[in-house]
Symmetry: D2
Subunit: 324 residues, 4 copies
């Protein structure tokens, strides 16, 4: 059966909640409205919630800012600070003094290059700690960063590469940055999701790979992601849903026609999707034309947020200082 | 009213022909089937054909090769030769000894980078002709090439830039290479269209700009294009069409329900499309995830085809020779 | 005879002045010392000065800031403002309301990519003026920008491309940004030269091409450049000079040996240079390993400087605003 | 004292041999002359040879082809086959069925991007072996590939990253590709060195880092390198040597002047080099302007050579087949 593809917990919740009154069982939600942005904190508390939302037990913080997609520097700086604040709350930088920043995705595919572009702007310091045999610094954390590339180009699962590096460099925490797929175009380039559950590469597209998670790596893994694409099959499925809904509004229950609409099985839907996307099927992405500008802007927002959050004594202004 | 977006004449014809017996009036079509590829030659003969297909009067040659999207070197070389043969038939290289190759599109957006990537691989010779005050060479044509960039980055219409260069360098012919939008995913990266009608930048997306055409530039313009994206609004519109068709099959004419389906106005469709694509709407593209590999392969196929076709005394083997 | 390669007027003057008391005839010089930088204003007044310095009659403003090569954001912002101030003094933005920014050089060769990288960050507005049929705006100038590429890839002289575009778009002024060659490593990435004399592509390497100048383009041309390489032949020649000088210090005039040193003809020097650089000879550049970081930083400094200087109502803060 | 920088064993030998009759003690040399290329096989047999040449005990195979720097496709294919043959002789692909290809260097610095560019063109298969739980294939080897980036961007020693990956993926052999520094411009882009001694990152520039070697990684390491730069300090030092030699030829021994030349201590030389290269000193590279084209061509030559050598049943033609 066809499965809606979304990497966003806020969307997974919407899907479940559609037409329901009460909250998803096993899930706690808290919203904070600000002028420029909204923060939604979703806690998946147990197996039940995990199964309902098809997301692992843990915390999912979503920062939504519709104007982020064409933000001026003030808004971008502001969102960097918000991101840093939320990250700090999860990372506890005074506990985790050694961080490995991982940029996931393929640098050669514009909408997938968020991770590698963030890593290019991250303030790495580990080699200085090594060179001077330092273990601590009051203002700077011990930070390393890597963009391992994608399995199609390396032949190696990204999780394996990272685990190998983690075992050699022993970070206290891993922060993995990735471009996400959302269900809804509204979330593209306007939403940042932070979670403490790690990442399952390509999980959304249904193939089972080694997760980039605390269980597998042996250290906490914080995932930071921004939706840059919508999965085409999901987009089409939702379109079909909309039109059927539209028609239902124009008829009364009980009518033969109504039951026909009801009866349009997911198998029919799937064959429609297939017909539209052949020969590429599961491998088609939907993305805005200006995606390169969006990625450049957002990689700056995210890297600044990370730089501020991991280094105890550094603020937005310092970042630029140190970076040069 | 919503308009289906396609840059391919073969698709424009399909759209018109749907459910019709006879050929489009004012249009001549000829097909040539080969083992690895099919060539369709569409001639739009007059105003009537132009209006029916919403494409300018002229010739449109389409080379379709479904396996091109994962071709081995033999097939790619073969298609390069086919492209060269078709180009030669239009260009008449012995008549047009000075060619300007133009790479349209934005090099920073993977699916839009076909033109700039082709230009990088084109064998340019004009500076040698200038340096040695040569006007003719029996084996080589006088070739120059440029990737002007996109209006959003230059502030100048691409047509104006090219016209300025044409007036300074006086080529006999302009060959403009561009990534296209097709209606159907099946054509992505498997179809090459050659036309003698030039290109209207972004015409498909409904904004009127200066065309890159013989009328405007004063020299013949050959357009070579490969579809790399499907316009998202078109994809959704077709999906709606498919599902309505599906339902019609399940009811009989005359039924109230049938008329309801009939009655689903294009306005309704458009508002559905809008609902799905907001806030990006007209600026969303649908493209395969492996688009970067596809573009790299195809830019080689096209540049080789152009190199062979413009230089009288050069074949596929020589191309590699001269290029280094 | 071998000729020292430098694009910097300050170095041309040093070369002439070596061991001389008085200023170069036909040349006026003025220096302004600041904490973070020094500005040298060289005016070549007449034919005599032009011949002595081998630079065209006109103004050459040089901003030198040794710490620019590893500057923090404050210094970079400061130098952007200094650059803007000096540019404004030459451009007179209220007189020149339409500017074309030209990025010279090859984007694929790291130390030559300064121009194209600056153009990517320039705030272009011309297409908006066109779209809204506006001729004036109190805060914004009418700005377009282009990176034409290098002759080896286009087959067209850069000057011809730009002239063609100028004739189509009628700017009031052209600002051409280019990576320069300096004689001295000290100037690499720490010096910005502004001149009102335009640019002669590859002039330094002794081939005569169409200049990018007011005479040729018909509008004022301001050149903005930063040295990113030293010509290898020049570096070797200077090394030879240094060692000969060194030896002279260790002997007395009149000695046979001294005359031998004197006698070491430029022909000998040239054959030495040749021996060292064969088989690449005139085409070898000397550049710091970290050149990519330097170029990225400096392209931001220059683009901000240009953005502030051409747009009457825009300051450094606004730049970031408008750019997104 | 100043040390000549070269990564080539053939140059290290020249340095030692200058003006000597007999071969370097502890070193065996064998030359094979062909029409298009020369192969030099240097075996460093023991401690003595190691110390004389300042290169580790082991085999160094050098393929020199002066015309490689502007080769046509035939020569490039030919050199790929020669490289493959020499690699096979060292790798013994039937013994080593699992290979990890490592691309060293910084992809953002043109002359340092050879390794990453080769890795992009390597035929990786490991993920297929994993997916189908295959351990063997008669025509294909189990190949993975990675470009770890440089320590300045990752904060991690490249050796550590690779060791981590080796421990996770257990290859039988590592092939590390890197851009080299040669002493002599003649070797730039015309020489391929293969060695079984691994690589010491930045060893040439005198900082001690973890080597990428069999001792450290626990599996054989084959290094494949091509010189793309000359170290500027070395170039200057050689220039000084040449001019002193030149002068010696013009005087007789015993003369006071002659002894002065003799007396020019390496300390003087060093201070001269310093004077020329300040403020960049040890971090300056000398490279041809067309280095980007050279790197693109050579990365193809090397990747094809590797692809043929590691996969038992694959020849040059197949490579292109499989790659697409």
């Amino acid at each position: 059966m066809f499965q809606i593809r979304t990497d966003l917990a806020v969307e997974a919740r919407e899907i479940y909640n559609e037409g329901k009154e009460q909250e998803v069982p096993g899930v706690e939600v808290e919203r904070e409205e600000q002028e420029d942005y909204t923060i939604t904190r979703i806690k998946i508390l147990n197996e039940l919630g995990q199964q309902k939302l098809n997301k692992k037990v843990g915390s999912y913080v979503t920062i939504e800012s519709p104007s982020l997609k064409r933000a001026d520097q003030d808004l971008k700086d502001n969102i960097s600070k918000v991101l840093a604040k939320e990250l700090k709350a999860i990372i506890a930088p005074n506990k985790h003094k050694k961080a490995l920043i991982v940029g996931l995705g393929n640098r050669n595919v514009t909408p997938d290059a968020l991770g590698p572009k963030v890593v290019e702007k991250v303030l790495v310091t580990r080699h200085f700690f090594q060179a001077y045999n330092k273990t601590e610094d009051e203002s700077m954390a011990n930070v390393s960063a890597i963009s391992p590339g994608v399995m199609g180009l390396t032949g190696i699962e990204t999780g394996e590469i990272i685990k190998g590096i983690v075992e050699k460099t022993n970070p206290d925490i891993v922060i993995a940055v990735d471009a996400l797929a959302s269900r809804n175009m509204r979330h593209i380039s306007s939403t940042i999701q932070i979670s403490d559950t790690g990442i399952s590469p390509g999980s959304g597209v249904g193939n089972k790979r080694k997760p980039i998670s605390a269980e597998y790596l042996g250290v906490p893994v914080i995932a930071v992601g921004i939706p840059t694409v919508v999965d085409a099959a999901t987009l089409i499925n939702d379109t079909i849903g909309l039109i059927i809904g539209e028609m239902k509004n124009q008829t009364e229950e009980g009518q033969e026609f109504y039951s026909l609409l009801e009866g349009l099985s997911s198998k029919d839907k799937y064959s429609l999707i297939k017909e539209v996307l052949t020969p590429y099927m599961d491998n088609v992405m939907v993305t805005p034309k200006e995606v390169d500008d969006l990625i450049n802007d957002l990689s700056q927002v995210v890297s600044n947020g990370i730089n501020i959050s991991v280094h105890p004594g550094i603020d937005l202004k310092d970042v630029n200082r140190y970076l040069n």
